[in-house]
C-alpha cells in the first residue's frame, strides 16, 4: 500500500509495543482492576489454605504442601486476571480497535503477556509476603526460585492470553477459560511444583534441572504458538 | 436401518453383553474341595509312606488336570463374551456408516429438488 503523503509514519514495532504496554499500565493504574481482583483472590487463597491446613503438624511435609498450594493459587489468580482483561477487551469492541494498529497482532499478544506477567508478579509478591507470617513460608533459599517463578508465570500466561481471547467471545467464558487452560498448563504446573520442591533446603537441587528444562520447553513452545496463532484467531 | 430405537437397542445389547461377565456362574466351573478320608491303617511305616505318596501323586495329577479344564473353561467363556461385545460394536460401526450413506443420499435428493424448484 503506498504511504499517503500526509499520513503519519508507521511507528516502529518497539515504539508500538511501548505505547501498547503504556496503555495497559495506565489503564491498570487508573482502574486498579486487575491487581485488586488478582491480589484479593490470592490473599483469600492463602487464608483458605491456612485454614484448611491448620490442624496439620507443622513439619517438612506441610511446608512442601503449602508451596504446591501457592502454585495452585497463582494459577487461579492468573485465570482471574486473564478473564478480567479479556472482558475489558470485548467491552465496546476494544479489541477490534486495538487490532487496527498497523502491526502484526502478535505484538498485541506480546504486550498482553508482558503486562499481565507484571501484574501477576506483583500479586505473587503480595501473596508471598502474606504467606511468610501466615503459613510460615521460607522461600528464598536459592535465588534460582526467582527464575522458576518467572518461567512458570510465562508458561501459564502464554497459552492463557491466547485462550482468553477465545473465551472472551464465548458463552460462559469465565468458567470456560479455567476448563480450557488447566489441561494445557499441566506440564508447566508439574515443572513449577517439581522445581520449587527440589530447590527447598534438604532436597537435591540437581533434580531441579530437569524441571527447569521442562519449564523452558513449555515457555518456548507456548510463546511461539501464541505469537503464531493470536493473529489467526482474531482476523475478520 | 435409520430408526434411532434400533441403535439404542444395539447399544443396550452391547452394554448387557459387557455386564454378562458379572453374572457368569463361576462357582459351577470352579473346583470343589477333595473328600479327605484318612488312609486305612497299615503296619509297615515305609510301606505306608510310599502308599500315601502314590495316592497323593494320583490326587495331585487329577487335581491339576481338573484345574486346567476349569481354567480353559473360564478363558473360553471370557473369550466368548468379549468377542460378542466387539462383534456388536463393529456391526454397529459398519451399519451406522451405511446408514450415513443413505442419509446423505437423502439430503442430496432434497437439495436437488430444492434447486429444481428455484430454477
Amino acid at each position: 500500500m503506498p504511504t499517503q503523503p500526509n499520513a503519519p509514519a508507521k511507528p516502529s514495532a518497539a515504539a508500538a509495543f511501548m505505547a501498547l504496554l503504556g496503555r495497559e499500565v495506565l489503564v491498570e493504574w487508573r482502574t486498579k482492576s486487575l491487581i485488586s481482583s488478582m491480589g484479593l483472590f490470592a490473599l483469600l487463597c492463602v487464608v483458605v489454605v491456612g485454614l484448611g491446613a491448620r490442624s496439620l503438624p507443622s513439619d517438612d511435609t506441610l511446608h512442601r504442601f503449602v508451596l504446591a498450594m501457592l502454585w495452585v493459587c497463582t494459577v487461579f489468580a492468573a485465570i482471574v486476571g486473564l478473564n478480567r482483561a479479556a472482558v475489558a477487551d470485548q467491552r465496546k469492541g476494544l479489541i477490534y480497535a486495538l487490532l487496527l494498529a498497523p502491526h502484526d497482532p502478535a505484538l498485541l499478544y506480546l504486550t498482553r503477556v508482558v503486562s499481565v506477567l507484571a501484574f501477576l508478579l506483583v500479586t505473587q509478591s503480595l501473596m508471598i509476603l502474606a504467606a511468610i507470617p501466615l503459613l510460615k513460608l521460607t522461600l528464598f533459599d536459592d535465588p534460582l526460585i526467582l527464575a522458576v517463578i518467572v518461567m512458570a508465570d510465562i508458561g501459564v500466561l502464554a497459552p492463557g492470553v491466547l485462550l482468553a481471547s477465545i473465551t472472551g467471545r464465548a458463552r460462559g467464558g469465565e468458567a470456560l477459560l479455567t476448563i480450557l487452560l488447566m489441561p494445557v498448563i499441566v506440564p508447566v504446573f508439574l515443572g513449577a511444583t517439581g522445581a520449587t520442591d527440589a530447590l527447598q533446603p534438604g532436597q537435591d537441587p540437581a533434580a531441579a534441572t530437569a524441571y527447569l528444562l521442562l519449564l523452558g520447553i513449555c515457555d518456548a513452545m507456548f510463546a511461539a504458538l501464541g505469537l503464531l496463532l493470536f493473529g489467526r484467531l482474531n482476523e475478520g | 436401518m435409520n430408526h434411532p430405537r434400533m441403535w439404542m437397542a444395539l447399544l443396550c445389547l452391547a452394554c448387557a453383553l459387557c455386564a454378562s461377565g458379572l453374572a457368569a456362574d463361576s462357582k459351577s466351573e470352579s473346583l470343589h474341595p477333595l473328600n479327605e478320608q484318612p488312609p486305612a491303617k497299615t503296619t509297615g511305616e515305609s510301606e505306608l509312606r510310599s502308599q500315601l505318596e502314590t495316592e497323593y501323586r494320583a490326587q495331585l495329577e487329577k487335581r491339576v488336570a481338573q484345574e486346567k479344564i476349569s481354567m480353559e473353561g473360564s478363558l473360553h467363556s471370557l473369550w466368548m463374551s468379549n468377542a460378542a461385545v466387539w462383534t456388536v460394536l463393529f456391526t454397529f460401526v459398519v451399519l451406522q456408516a451405511l446408514s450415513a450413506r443413505k442419509r446423505s443420499a437423502e439430503i442430496e435428493r432434497l437439495r436437488r429438488s430444492r434447486q429444481g424448484d428455484q430454477a
Binding site: 499441566v186 508439574l190 513452545m221 | 456408516a97
Partner: protein, 248 residues
C-alpha cells in the same frame, strides 16, 4: 459451517476400517485367550517391574494388555490428529479439517476412557488391593492421561459455547493445536518421577507368544478403534449437510 459434501469415500473408509478392525480384534482376542500361555504350567508367572517397588506378578491379568496398549496408541493418534487437523485447518480453511479435529476429539474421549478403565482395573488387580480404584495412585502417567482425557472433553465443551461458526472453527483449530503437546507429556511422564507405571513391558514381552500377540494387537485393535474416527467424521459431515440444507 460451509457446505461439505459427504463423500462416499468417508463411508467406504469407515466400512473398510470397521470390517478390518473386526477381523483384527477377533484375531487378537483369539490369540490372547488361546495362544498366549496360561499360568497353569509352572515357570510362566509373568511379571512387570515398575520403576519403584517390587516386581508385580500378573497371573492371567496380563491379557488386558492387548486391549490397553492399542487403546493408548489410538488415544495418541487422536491427539496427533487434533493437532494435525488444527494446523491444516488454519493453513487451508477447509471444513474437512475441522471435522477431523472434532471426530478425533470425540474418539479420543471414548478410547481414552477405555485406556483409563482398563489401566485402572489392571492396576487394581496387579498392585492394588483389588477394590475399585485401589491401583490409582496419582502417578504421573495416570494423571497426565486423565488430563488429556479432560482436554478432549474441554474441546467439545468449547465448541458448544461458541455460536458463531467462523469463531467456533478457529477456536477449535487453535485448541486442537494446543492439545498436541499433551501426548508427548503423557509418554514422557514415566520419566518425570519415580513411577509405578512400568516404563517398558520387556519382562512380559520376553515370552515370544506374548510379543507376537502384542504386535498383532497393536495393528488390529488400533485399526478397529480408528474406524470410530472415520465413523464420527462421516456422521459429523452428514450433520453439517443437514444443517446447511435446513438453513437453505
Amino acid at each position: 459451517m460451509p457446505d461439505t459434501p459427504t463423500r462416499s469415500t468417508a463411508v467406504w473408509v469407515t466400512v473398510a476400517l470397521g470390517a478390518l478392525g473386526m477381523v483384527g480384534v477377533h484375531v487378537t482376542l483369539y490369540l490372547s485367550y488361546f495362544y498366549t500361555p496360561t499360568q497353569v504350567t509352572p515357570g510362566t508367572l509373568w511379571v512387570v517391574t515398575p520403576d519403584s517397588g517390587a516386581p508385580i506378578s500378573l497371573y492371567e491379568s496380563y491379557r488386558i494388555f492387548f486391549i490397553h496398549l492399542p487403546s493408548a496408541y489410538t488415544t495418541a493418534a487422536c491427539c496427533g490428529l487434533t493437532a494435525l487437523g488444527g494446523v491444516m485447518y488454519l493453513l487451508s480453511r477447509k471444513p474437512k479439517w475441522e471435522l477431523l479435529i472434532v471426530s478425533a476429539a470425540e474418539t479420543g474421549l471414548a478410547v481414552g476412557a477405555m485406556v483409563l478403565l482398563t489401566g485402572t482395573l489392571w492396576a487394581d488387580y496387579a498392585w492394588g488391593s483389588g477394590r475399585l480404584g485401589s491401583g490409582w495412585n496419582w502417578e504421573a502417567r495416570l494423571t497426565t492421561m486423565l488430563i488429556l482425557w479432560l482436554a478432549f472433553a474441554a474441546l467439545l465443551v468449547l465448541r458448544r459455547a461458541i455460536d458463531q461458526p467462523r469463531q467456533r472453527s478457529l477456536a477449535t483449530a487453535v485448541y486442537g493445536i494446543l492439545l498436541g503437546p499433551l501426548y508427548p507429556l503423557v509418554s514422557k511422564a514415566v520419566d518425570i518421577n519415580r513411577t509405578s507405571h512400568p516404563r517398558s513391558f520387556s519382562d512380559l514381552l520376553s515370552a515370544p507368544e506374548i510379543a507376537t500377540t502384542q504386535r498383532i494387537a497393536s495393528v488390529g485393535v488400533v485399526i478397529a478403534l480408528l474406524s470410530l474416527v472415520a465413523l464420527r467424521y462421516t456422521w459429523n459431515s452428514v450433520g453439517n449437510n443437514l444443517n446447511t440444507e435446513r438453513a437453505a
